[in-house]
Symmetry: C2
Subunit: 448 residues, 2 copies
């Protein structure tokens, strides 16, 4: 009887455990599936890229499966597979850069390797490995050192690696095999086949252009600045309210330099496509991005003031609210407002410091925005983006996009006398009504 | 006679050209040699690294040159060469991370590949390539997609690549060769040999530790802040003088995040060495680095004010000079100075805005420095760096190093009553006398 009970208890206990385990497993699986879905949703091109890699690999594996192809390449077709796996990158620029580097480096290093083997044969059977060893050491060291040069590192790093690899292989195996010419030829041709498959799949199946990504990223960064500036009035000037606890969007701009550099680097390898010509001014993007980052630095400080408890007295705030909202480049109104506000004895200077500082940084930001606007305008000219847009509209759009949705207006001295316009004003009206839809912003950003 | 003259003229002309060409060539060669020297001088470890790569490659080439070794491995020893070229990185952490990734991924993918080939054989001679093709497509796509997961990308990106590579090779060549088990074994063992050679050379011949580099970089960044702050008094407060035209050192900190992240990532792969234990708090470095960058953002704004023509009136400047130089954390003196300075009617508020803003940002910087000091202190505890230093001295050193050479002094409430010290003051004295030597600074930085 007792045994029966404990057996039953044990059964119940086991059942309990099994239930707990299965529910835990279920939770974990759901969590992972959600994570996978998120990664895919964040950028659906990732899923497409994965399928493209699978497709290219299956394509190149035909070299093995189809008898006539196998007969002509044999085991070396393995190099084609290796090439596809190693060379296929997310963007067209990445794939092109790696393919070209790999092909070219293999050609050069292969020829040098064959030369080295022939040269070493002069030294007899005993001297040959010694001479080859010395040559290998010297070339490997020199090529490795060359990878530290910034220019080579930036563009030809992979080429230098493949150079060392191919030279070592040809030089070393040349000591044992007499067919190094055949080997070198087979290696080169299979690499070319692999590289070509990668390039074709990369360009013709849903291509991902690094250049377009760079363009969108910069436009998006400018939008982030605009969004923050738009939200700023709402956060500082009304009666103290709860501030958004999530980190403002512009924060990512502060450390986005390396991504921008990489994209600009890859974009240079890409052929002309869509609105991006072969000689598209990619360098200019980095210049604009630098200015945008400068502006974001100022936002970072401004944000500190918004978040801090140090608030200027209410009457001072209300005094500078209007000129801060509608700010001209020389900030004339702001100056006037500050001028007219002579601190009374009881309201001492100390209390208005945060407000004054903030206003002062805002003036700096306007300077910054003006610079960005200038750079974007210069860029539009270089990129021949003007053609599709009325030049005046384009100039306005450039600033629209900076502080978007009617936030910036060029104020000309006189009326439309553009020639006399030696020191243009830029009016920035930060308002909350009619927040533009995301689509609208994207169009504005992409049109630059 | 005439012909003679023209022939002479031609000779002279040719001589001239040859001279020009040779001098141009000489200039170019000298320029390149100087460039090479500079790259080497900037970091002599680059030269050593290049020699190490050459050495490891020559070592692995012995597999080919020495007959008994060649007999046991044959042509597959090529994989050992390939492994050395691809896996040998500048830092120990890089080499270890790549070797371990490569070895482990080869083992897993090799086993899976052998399994896939055996599974596919059930489907007959015609079905085999189709089943293998489908498996290849699915696994390659899945593995490629996994590389988009931030955690995998950060640590196992290379492993995922090698997984795809090995699986494709084993699965595809398994269709043609019956000796895939032998092939898989040889590939794995040669990769292990290559990887082991890399790891041994990397650790035992002049090792470059990513962790040490990270430590030095952060310490150096803190020094850069200190240097700027030290030079600041000299630049803003004396009578207007020529400002250093070269970019201040701290500028590099603004965009050094990606380098720091990479180093911290590699440092995690490294075994304990010197003062860095196995569980060294590498994460803490990134935290400190973030605070240092926050501080550098503020410097960027401050620098804008120093460079701008907007200077506050002289009497105001002289009023805040002393409290700006000797600044306490609550900036009491600065507050008092600002309080006592009531703008007269003719000197309006507008004129002192730049000065007020600057002082205000300086107060922010002091807050920032205090945070860095706290983070460094916390870190020292976690890293067990205290042992070698007197705790009090260490606390002082932490701040010494921040604003170095007697610039910071902890002011205790009462005298040495550390228990009552609920809100410590930090006095920052920016002075120009006795600039510390570079060695001194380095010691301070490295000791943290």
């Amino acid at each position: 009887m007792e045994i029966d009970l404990s057996a039953q208890e044990e059964k119940a206990w086991l059942f309990q455990r099994a239930k707990m385990f299965s529910s835990k497993l279920k939770d974990n699986v759901i969590k992972h599936v959600k994570n996978v879905q998120k990664i895919g949703k964040d950028d659906p091109r990732r899923i497409i890229h994965s399928l493209k890699v699978g497709f290219a690999l299956t394509l190149v594996s035909m070299l093995y499966y189809v008898r006539p192809l196998y007969n002509s390449f044999g085991v070396t077709s393995m190099w084609a597979i290796l090439t596809v796996v190693v060379v296929f990158e997310f963007s067209v620029g990445g794939t092109l850069s790696k393919s070209i580097n790999r092909g070219f480096a293999t050609l050069v290093a292969g020829s040098l390797g064959v030369g080295a083997v022939h040269f070493a044969r002069f030294f007899g059977h005993k001297g040959e490995p010694i001479v080859l060893g010395i040559l290998l050491f010297l070339l490997a060291a020199a090529a490795t050192f060359s990878r530290f040069f910034p220019k080579i590192k930036q563009r030809y790093d992979y080429g230098a690696l493949i150079f060392i690899l191919t030279f070592s292989m040809v030089a070393i195996s040349g000591y044992r095999t007499d067919e190094i010419l055949v080997m070198a030829y087979q290696r080169l041709s299979t690499i070319l086949i692999g590289g070509t498959i990668c390039i074709i799949v990369s360009i013709f199946v849903c291509p991902v252009w690094a250049g377009e990504d760079l363009h969108k990223m910069i436009a998006n960064n400018i939008n982030k600045l605009a969004n923050y500036l738009e939200g700023f009035e709402g956060e500082y000037f009304p009666l103290p309210k709860k501030i958004n606890s999530c980190a403002p969007e512009y924060k990512t701009i502060l450390t986005s330099k390396s991504t921008e550099d990489t994209l600009a680097n890859l974009a240079r390898w890409e052929p002309g496509h869509g609105r991006f010509g072969l000689r598209h001014p990619w360098k200019q993007y980095l210049e604009i991005a630098g200015l945008v980052r400068q502006c974001a630095f100022r936002f970072e400080i401004l944000n500190g003031y918004v978040l801090s408890d140090l608030k200027a007295p209410q009457d001072f705030i209300s005094k500078i609210q209007e000129p801060c909202s509608v700010m001209s480049i020389e900030a004339e109104n702001l100056r006037v407002a500050l001028k007219s506000y002579s601190p009374e004895t009881e309201k001492d200077l100390l209390e208005i410091i945060p407000g004054v500082t903030m206003a002062s940084i805002l003036i700096e930001i306007v300077n910054c925005v003006e610079k960005i606007s200038g750079a974007v305008k210069e860029f539009s000219g270089l990129a021949h983006f003007k053609e599709t847009l009325d030049p005046k509209l384009s100039a306005e759009l450039g600033q629209h996009q900076l502080l978007h949705k009617g936030s910036v207006k060029r104020v000309l001295e006189g009326d439309n006398e553009e020639e006399n316009n030696s020191s243009p004003h830029v009016l920035i009206t930060v308002h909350e009504e009619q927040p533009p839809t995301t689509n609208e912003k994207k169009v504005l950003g992409a049109e630059t």
